[in-house]
Symmetry: C2
Amino acid sequence: MDNPFVRKMERHVRLGPEDRATLDGLARQHVRHVAARQDIEGQHSNPYHAHLILDGWACRYKQLPDGRRAIVALLLPGDLCDPFAFRRVRIDHAIGALTPVTVARITPDQIGDAIRDRPMVEECLWRELLATTAIHREWIASVGRRSAIERLAHLFCELHLRLSRVGLADGATVPMPVTQPDLADALGQTSVHINRTLKELRTSGLVTLRGRLLTIRDLDGLMERGLFDPTYLQLA
Amino acid sequence: MDNPFVRKMERHVRLGPEDRATLDGLARQHVRHVAARQDIEGQHSNPYHAHLILDGWACRYKQLPDGRRAIVALLLPGDLCDPFAFRRVRIDHAIGALTPVTVARITPDQIGDAIRDRPMVEECLWRELLATTAIHREWIASVGRRSAIERLAHLFCELHLRLSRVGLADGATVPMPVTQPDLADALGQTSVHINRTLKELRTSGLVTLRGRLLTIRDLDGLMERGLFDPTYLQLA
DNA sequence: CGGGATGTTGATGTGAATCAACGCGGGTGG
DNA sequence: CCACCCGCGTTGATTCACATCAACATCCCG
């Protein structure tokens, strides 16, 4: 009865009890565990199932021929790995677990049935995809035009907000179970420079990051530092 | 009877004559002209209409508080400016004309009716949105992990392919009606550096750019230089 | 036939990458 | 249970890709 996807969707659309039950049913069958650093979907695969993240963090990433890795999205509990799976398209990137991950595997048929029974489910899929594109656009702007410290501050604000929506933020403290090399590949930098930037955020009293927990000491200051405007995440 | 959106969609889905007529009808009413450098939608606006680009180039962009501009997408003929308009969401970015642009204005009702009459229309909207996200991801990888020359080469390959799909490429020659400052804001660089990079692509015999026309002298070489893998655009 | 936007080139500056070294911690195998 | 070791975090020295600053050429439009 407690599904991070439902928790997130309830912020945007009005779900009746049957809608909630249907969405919840989708996430109950075929629960699977994936170890950290394992792929959930390989690059250029043609996924048959959709996956909903129930616990843990994953990422979409592209591996360039010479080994460089670009993380193009972070997937948190409540996020759909493959909102396109039921369209049977070949994906252009891999999906990898950054931590141990629990996912629910959903077949195209299940989604089709759910949509037929409860049209609101399709509305949820649209919302989810629109939110994804909004986040993508913000990342493009970040990597293209924000400085190192602005990028990191912006990402922390984004993650704080996204985790709050699914009930995973404990006030100003949020889990941050990724390594500095992971952050580097997500922000288009090196882990060395992430480390220095992190230090700068710490010494300015904005955040502390210890033991895979991020504590935001000054949210307003952090938002200002990252030029963070939360409207893009509130597709309501 | 000649609509760039239809031309693009026919590469992905099988359209019957009625589908084609319906899609074409959407693009026939309320054709509007927008001058270069005018906004089609303002940042943070809450668009009521969807706009389909019939002619000219536009872009999605975000203006940072201090004036920096990030172009997060290029919109070519056949692209939908607001695949989300009929979901009534507030947008998080502006849409601006880069050249004089002709757009078709479409109301949510028209889209709703079209979907009800011809379910294939909704399929087309899904495809369009999925293609958009794939391009977004490629841009994130570009700006994050590709060098200046790789980025520019990659963008030229992308535009060549996208323009070909709507019949706007004349062999290896494609229109490129944007300024170097525009390219700079799209690739996260400065116009000065775009200029030098362009020179490098020219002296390596890969492309020439003159009079708003890009000629690709060596497509294979350009694709290699840009680490370009076209699968992401072929969501078929 | 101007004049402002755009393109081009050179000189110089700098933010972030690279290279390198070392501490630390947690997992693993002997 | 301990020793090892590999990945991660941290810091300093150096390099480099790209930004910035500046000057001038060129194009296009009115």
